[in-house]
């Protein structure tokens, strides 16, 4: 009797590492025509929307077709720089002091209604009222050109004393409004490149508001009192949309006295920096003489008493916020986001189907027989789908954003290279993480339809609900974009929001309540939790 040797396959056993798993999953992906086509369609849809919906002045609610480029500030970012400046040269170190005794203003409650911008009728329909961020104070500025370095100490309409510098810096000083009974003393002290601001209620007891360092401040700078008043903005709600229909320039008038400039003996010069406020009809008014009634938005000044002035000004000194009434251009976030939404839905479908098709066809049993370590299978699937959607997303978002920026030209304020990279890579990563979330939901639900609808509902619906006015309070809308995966869209925000500029900071305008990477992390947290739950369920349930 001979013992029968058991059969041994002559084929050398295959390696069974993670690389083989990845290769298997990649083969599964690339050989299903529907998925490859789905990803390509996602890319084409994203880019196609980007091509049709170009950013530009045409999207601006107060757009006029003309698209003047905003001046750029010391940091290279676009700024708004229009105000009335009464100045003298200040050479070297020195001090400028003034007392503000009143700040009043006029505005148009109905927004710009087609009233003439010049002549006696220019202020037709205006009422008295000062804008919350109307500014009157003293300033040391490199020159009277737009976008030059400055430091200013100022009183505002409703935000107390502020020390502001180089368009974005903003430090709070004494609170409360200014009046003849409660005047504010302001003092700026230049020492080399640093400027310190002090405020006081009585001119004897001074307190330091802040010290800022200005680069690019020449030895001879311009110093003196100034007034600015940002354009009002009327937010109108129509069903389903918030539109900024009415924007109109406003005027603020401030009374200064005890104006003193160290080493000064010359005459004060009035300059309408930037030629007055932007006019809704397009273009800026010409510079005219002090207090010219024919060009009310240019501002002007009039001496009053000894060392006193009444300064009237219009405009703003602030970062350029495209959606603000004084801002220019549009945010490319909007075009990028709608393209991304189209791509997102296709990628979510593919991501969920990548696993649910295995359940439907029974292939999952073959997969798990070949690779019994289930978590590794899931990890390989997630890596493959994330890599595919990231690469496709990168192509889509890159082409969309770069084409949009190139086509819009000056309609989009300059974006730093870092911001562009963050928007492109971050949005591609958003698509990848969303597809992993869909994959994990697919494992949990095992049915494509449940996974796809759940993924779309948690990613897209909060974004939609976040700007339906009248449905939810603004606070509730912000929370939707803080806690749901839709928060990830924050990564596509092009420009920061500034509290000192009034504008509709809404998701449909390209502004999100969370910082870009924080919002992205919220999405990642959802995907991580879903992935962990999926790994647990995959290991515990029979396939």
């Amino acid at each position: 009797m001979t013992a029968i040797a058991p059969y041994r396959s002559p084929v050398t056993p295959g390696r069974d590492g993670f690389a083989q798993l990845l290769r298997a999953e990649w083969t599964k992906f690339r050989t299903v025509r529907g998925w490859v086509v789905g990803i390509l369609v996602a890319v084409l849809l994203t880019v196609g929307i980007g091509l049709t919906g170009s950013s530009g002045c045409g999207f601006n609610s107060n757009g006029t077709g003309a698209c003047p480029a905003a001046p750029t500030g010391p940091g290279g970012a676009a700024v708004t720089d229009r105000f009335y400046f009464v100045h003298q040269p200040l050479t070297g170190d020195g001090t400028v002091t003034a007392r503000v005794t009143s700040l009043t203003g006029v505005y148009s409650p109905s927004g710009y209604t087609g009233a003439p911008q010049t002549g006696p009728g220019a202020l037709k329909g205006y009422r008295s009222g000062v804008q919350p961020w109307a500014k009157a104070g003293i300033m040391i500025k490199a020159s009277t050109g737009q976008g030059t370095a400055y430091a200013a100490l100022l009183v505002t309409g409703a935000n107390g004393v502020r020390m502001q510098d180089d368009y974005t810096g903003d430090i709070a000083g004494l609170p409360g409004p200014v009046s003849a009974a409660a005047p504010r003393w302001l003092r700026l002290v230049r020492s080399g490149n640093s400027v310190s601001g002090y405020d006081s209620l009585n001119g004897t007891r001074w307190s330091l508001v802040g010290t800022v360092t200005l680069s690019g401040l020449p030895r001879t700078a311009q110093a003196g009192p100034f007034t600015a008043s940002p354009s009002s903005m009327v937010l109108t709600q129509s069903l389903g949309t918030v539109a900024t229909t009415g924007a109109a320039p406003t005027i603020a008038t401030a009374a200064f006295d005890h104006v003193a400039l160290s080493g000064a003996g010359g005459a004060w010069t009035g300059t309408s920096v930037g030629g007055g406020a932007a006019r809704p009809g397009g273009g800026n008014a010409n510079v005219n003489g002090p207090g010219n009634a024919a060009e009310p938005f240019n501002g002007g000044f009039r001496p009053s008493g000894t060392a006193g002035f009444t300064v009237r000004g219009s405009g703003d000194i602030a970062p350029n916020v495209p959606e603000a009434a004084d801002g220019s251009g549009t945010s490319p976030t909007q075009v990028l986001d709608i393209g991304t939404f189209l791509g997102l839905i296709a990628m979510v479908v593919v991501g969920a189907s990548f696993i649910t098709a295995e359940y439907r066809r029974g292939l999952i049993r073959t997969t798990l027989t070949a690779a019994p370590h289930r978590t590794r299978v899931l990890a390989a699937k997630a890596l493959v789908i994330a890599a595919v959607t990231f690469a496709a997303g990168l192509a889509a978002t890159g082409v969309t954003l770069l084409l949009d920026v190139a086509r819009a030209g000056s309609a989009i304020p300059p974006l730093t290279a870092l911001t562009e990279v963050r928007m492109i890579v971050g949005t591609a990563a958003l698509l990848a993480v969303a597809s992993v979330l869909a994959l994990a939901l697919g494992v949990l639900a095992r049915r494509g339809i449940a996974a796809v609808s759940a993924a779309i509902v948690v990613i897209v619906l909060p974004f939609l609900l976040a700007y339906i006015p009248g449905s939810l309070s603004t606070g509730a809308q912000d929370w939707l974009l803080r806690i749901f995966p839709a928060a990830g869209f924050a990564v596509s925000q092009a420009f920061p929001a500034y509290h000192q500029v009034v504008a509709p900071y809404q998701p449909n305008m390209g502004y999100f309540p969370l910082a870009p990477w924080v919002g992205f992390l919220v999405l990642c947290a959802w995907a991580a939790v879903a992935f962990a739950a999926a790994a647990y369920r995959l290991g515990r349930r029979d396939a």
Binding site: G34, G38, I49, G53, G58, F59, N60, S61, G63, Q237, S238, L239, G240, T241, A243, Q334, V335, D337, I338, F341, L342, I345, A346, V348, V349, A352, S353, T356, R360, R447, G448, I449, A450, A451, V452, S453, I456, V457, V460, L461, F463, L464, L465, Y467, I468, P469, G470, S471, L472, S473, G475, A476, N508
Partner: protein
């Protein structure tokens, strides 16, 4: 010996009703549609806020009916899932071949599916809308939308409120028919639900982004969800992109178009 007879509409209706009612997920989805609609509507009503003294009807422009019915944004997704799962599941499991062997008149099958689905969604929609209106009636006066501030209390005896409520029930049924038609044409339920939810949710996002543009209003007029939900409006009718019933008509046209597309695909393609 019984004579063979071809399946007529009543038989097919009966068959489809049996299929729908013997699947556990049908009940869960119908229940979820109603529960989520009411929950989100109540949440939206509770989250509504207006600054003290600025709650007047003329100031906020708030529409109590629309706020109460906010949940429809979510509820319609569940209804679409129910509709897509019904026909998509048959393609996924191969059941469609049994169905079409038993009832070879394919359009009759689609009509029966549409009828059974509409009935179920109307029932669920009645509960969803009734509960939402009740929640709004209970919650909103406490959130500033009271009679003292110039808002009429939500009441189905009011013409506009009744139109909003009844119209929203019809809206949900039309969404189900839209999803049924699209899924019949696409056959894969995952892809179909992606297309349906994309159609519903992406139009308003696109029209938001081009707001202020003439294109935005056009988009709001042709988008199935934005146009269809015009039926919920009880205030500010003049600024609506379309009159309420016209808007619902646009959605009905979308649903009809989808059903025609689905019917053609069912008729002309091998199952």
């Amino acid at each position: 010996m019984t004579r063979a007879r071809s399946a007529d509409l009543p038989d097919v209706l009966h068959a489809e009703w049996t299929k729908l009612r013997t699947v556990a997920s049908t009940y869960w989805l119908l229940l979820a549609a109603a529960a989520l609609t009411i929950a989100v509507g109540a949440g939206a009503a509770a989250a509504f806020g207006c600054a003290a003294g600025a709650c007047g009807a003329a100031r906020t422009g708030a529409d109590p009916a629309r706020i109460s019915l906010t949940g429809v944004y979510l509820g319609q997704a569940v209804v679409a899932v129910l509709a897509a799962a019904g026909i998509g599941g048959e393609y996924g499991t191969g059941m469609i071949r049994v169905t079409l062997t038993a009832a070879p008149r394919r359009l009759t099958v689609l009509a029966a599916k549409a009828a059974v689905l509409t009935g179920c969604v109307l029932a669920s929609g009645l509960v969803a809308v009734g509960g939402s209106v009740l929640a709004g009636w209970l919650i909103l006066p406490g959130r500033g939308l009271s009679a003292a501030n110039g808002y009429a209390p939500l009441s189905l005896a009011n013409g506009p409120d009744l139109r909003a409520a009844a119209g929203t029930v019809i809206y949900l049924a039309l969404i189900a028919l839209l999803a049924l038609g699209i899924t019949t044409a696409i056959r894969d339920s995952s892809t179909a639900i992606g297309v349906v939810l994309g159609l519903l949710y992406l139009f308003p996002i696109i029209s938001e982004v081009v707001s202020g543009h003439a294109l935005a209003r056009r988009l709001e007029q042709i988008a199935p969800m934005t146009a269809g939900l015009d039926i919920e409006a009880t205030v500010g009718l003049r600024s609506l992109p379309l009159a309420p019933w016209e808007g619902l008509g646009v959605l009905a046209a979308w649903a009809a178009g989808a059903l025609v597309l689905g019917g053609l695909s069912l008729r002309l393609r091998d199952a």
